[in-house]
């Protein structure tokens, strides 16, 4: 297993800079997910690590060795592609065997390795089949098998699940995670799907426009997003953001919301007063619960129900407040009706606060666990 270090990595295509000098260290055995909207440079970064793209500037180290000028095959990495890149004209066994192409092992040993990998992925019965006879999930496993067979020092995944249907994607997520736990291989996984990032990563790297916005464990990013982009990108449904301004009332600093004129005191040290600064108050839909009798001191919003999404395990309620719509959660099995006037309440400790101009978060203490 290996460490991967990116130092001030830059990728330019002509006048456009796709990756703008990123620094990242992936520890041995770590599962790091690069996530961001399309065009954020995450795939390009991965392809530079693989050696499929030239590095314009900066360094890539694998196990301390600078590999900028090393051919892909010399980096001892394996890559799983979005379209699997398994060859339709050869069998599953031969496809997996391509991973051993440069190995000097005797033939019998290669066969044994292929068998072993096939067994660990549940592909034994399919070894003589052609890819056309396999399902999407099976093809994905063949692609992973081809990567595994060589015992690479790191695995690179380029959106490997986006061609699968939702159910299979969930399944493969777990399978890849389980595989990682078993092999303990250093892995870099690229996706645009925050659910994949949240469920699989040891650490998530949020990227946007060629830069890293934030790096952290999934819960860290969820609890303490450093800006509006990450706050909205991580977590589903997206965080509600309500515009307001910093203000003082009755000698206390707080936020006066634009809609409804409510005044709240988020658990954030609003030092320096900064009266009048425009801010965005963030609250996650799962923290904003529909209630008849809000606790004293709770942050509340009142409005009319616009749309109700019944998901079975939970019910999401879209509530119109002034000119804005927020999403909240209906507790238990209660299903409100559109048009109904309701009150949503959140623990002030669950609130986030962002500067509206810079979109950066005001520092926020960790949530106290009850």
């Amino acid at each position: 297993m290996a460490t991967i270090a990116l130092e001030k990595l830059v990728k330019r295509y002509g006048p456009t800079t796709i990756v703008q000098g990123i620094d990242l260290t992936v520890a041995e055995g770590e599962f790091v997910v690069l996530v961001g909207p399309s065009g954020c440079g995450k795939s390009t970064t991965l392809r530079m690590i693989a050696g499929l793209e030239d590095v314009s500037d900066g360094l890539i180290r694998i196990d301390g060795r600078v590999v900028n000028q090393v051919e892909p095959k010399g980096r001892n990495i394996a890559m799983v592609f979005q379209n699997y890149a398994i060859y339709p004209h050869v069998t599953v066994a031969e496809n997996i065997g391509f991973g051993l192409y440069t190995s000097t092992l005797p033939k019998a040993e290669k066969q044994a390795r292929i068998q072993e990998v096939a067994r660990s992925l549940g592909l034994e019965a399919l070894l003589d089949r052609r890819p056309a006879q396999l399902s999407g999930g099976q093809r994905q496993r063949v692609a992973i098998g081809r990567a595994m067979v060589r015992n690479p020092s790191a695995f690179l995944f380029d959106e490997p699940l986006s061609n699968l249907d939702a159910q299979l994607r969930g399944q493969m997520r777990i399978e890849i995670k389980r595989l990682h736990q078993k092999l303990g291989a250093t892995s870099v996984f690229v996706t645009h799907d925050q659910v994949e990032a949240m469920t699989m990563a040891d650490r998530i790297v949020v990227m946007r426009e060629g830069r890293i916005l934030q790096i952290g464990a999934p819960m860290e990013l969820y609890e303490r997003p450093i800006d509006v982009f990450t706050a909205r990108f991580i977590g589903s449904p997206t965080m509600n953001l309500l515009p307001g301004a910093l203000a003082s009332r009755d000698g206390a600093d707080g936020v006066a919301l634009e809609d409804g004129g409510a005044f709240v005191r988020p658990p954030i040290a609003l030092t320096g007063g900064g009266g009048g600064t425009n801010v965005l108050l963030g609250v996650r839909p799962h923290d904003l619960v529909l209630t008849g009798s809000p606790d004293a001191g709770a942050f509340t919003l009142s409005g009319t129900v616009a749309v109700v999404e019944t998901l079975g395990t939970e019910t999401l309620v879209h509530v119109d407040i002034g000119r804005r719509s927020v999403i909240g959660l209906a507790p238990g099995r209660a299903v409100p009706v559109p048009g109904q006037r309701v009150t949503l309440a959140a623990d002030p400790a669950a609130l986030h606060l962002f500067d509206a101009a810079t979109e950066r978060a005001f520092p926020r203490p960790l949530l106290q666990q009850p």
């Binding site: 693989a50 051919e71 892909p72 379209n83 060859y87 440069t102």
Partner: protein, 313 residues
Amino acid sequence: MREAPATAHGTEGKAGRLSDRLTLSTKRVLWAWLFLAVPVVFYGAIRFWPTAEAFWISFTDWNLLRPAQFVGLDNYRRLLADPLFWKVFANTFLYLILGTPVSLVLSFAIAYHLDRVRFLHGFLRALYFLPFLTTAVAMAWVWRYFFQPVPIGPINNLLASLGLPAQPFLRSTVQALPTILVPAVWAGMGFQIIIFLAGLRAIPTSYYEAARIDGLSERAILWRITLPLLKPTLVFLVVFASIGFLRIFDYVYNMNTNDPGGPLDSTKPLVIMIYQTAFKSYDIGYASAQTVVLFLILLVLSLLQLRLMRQPT
């Protein structure tokens, strides 16, 4: 499905109209045949009927002057005993055996490299395609000029200026056939390159990237990935080129107009023999028998293609 038209028509007309009595699927079939009838009739009249006629004429001694008389297999017996036929048969296959591999290897090599060229890619592609759009007769005459002896032919002039012996080219019984193949191969390459390029473009780049990560060399990638995945393209082009070379006519005819197929029948393909038998000797029955033989060769080749295409890639 069957209920739908009944309700649809129930409001507008009485039961018993023809269109009401037909089921939806029958109506669809009728419409389909109505449209298909146009090409079917057309092809029947201008393709299949004359083909059938040719088969019939090949069993007669028709020579345009007296009415055709049935002569059984006489024409075929005569063909088998005709030394010219065997000479021509060998020539035809020589065109095929030399022309097909040479043109395909050349056009693949060009397409393979053109695929990697970004600079002036479209212009180069157009340049290669141009001969395919040009009239064969015009090209044949230009090439014929190239191959003339000193002091007319540029190729021999070049050889002379280099101090090399002049070559007879079209005047040699040995060199004439390969010389005629040069413009024929050149003219067909534009089409083959375009088809190869399309085939190459259809292979996902991730296949090559995965191969590079697995450490396959360029040569291994070509033999183990590119060529196997190009098999359908390759089969199509082999058959297409083969049929073309088996039916070669215009280059042979125009490169040597004073004696088409010469010198001494050394370049004469089957189609020229058929042409001369039919329209120089007016021996239509005999010419038809030759046509039938060519037809059977082409048929076998096409069936072979279908067999090859059906095999899993």
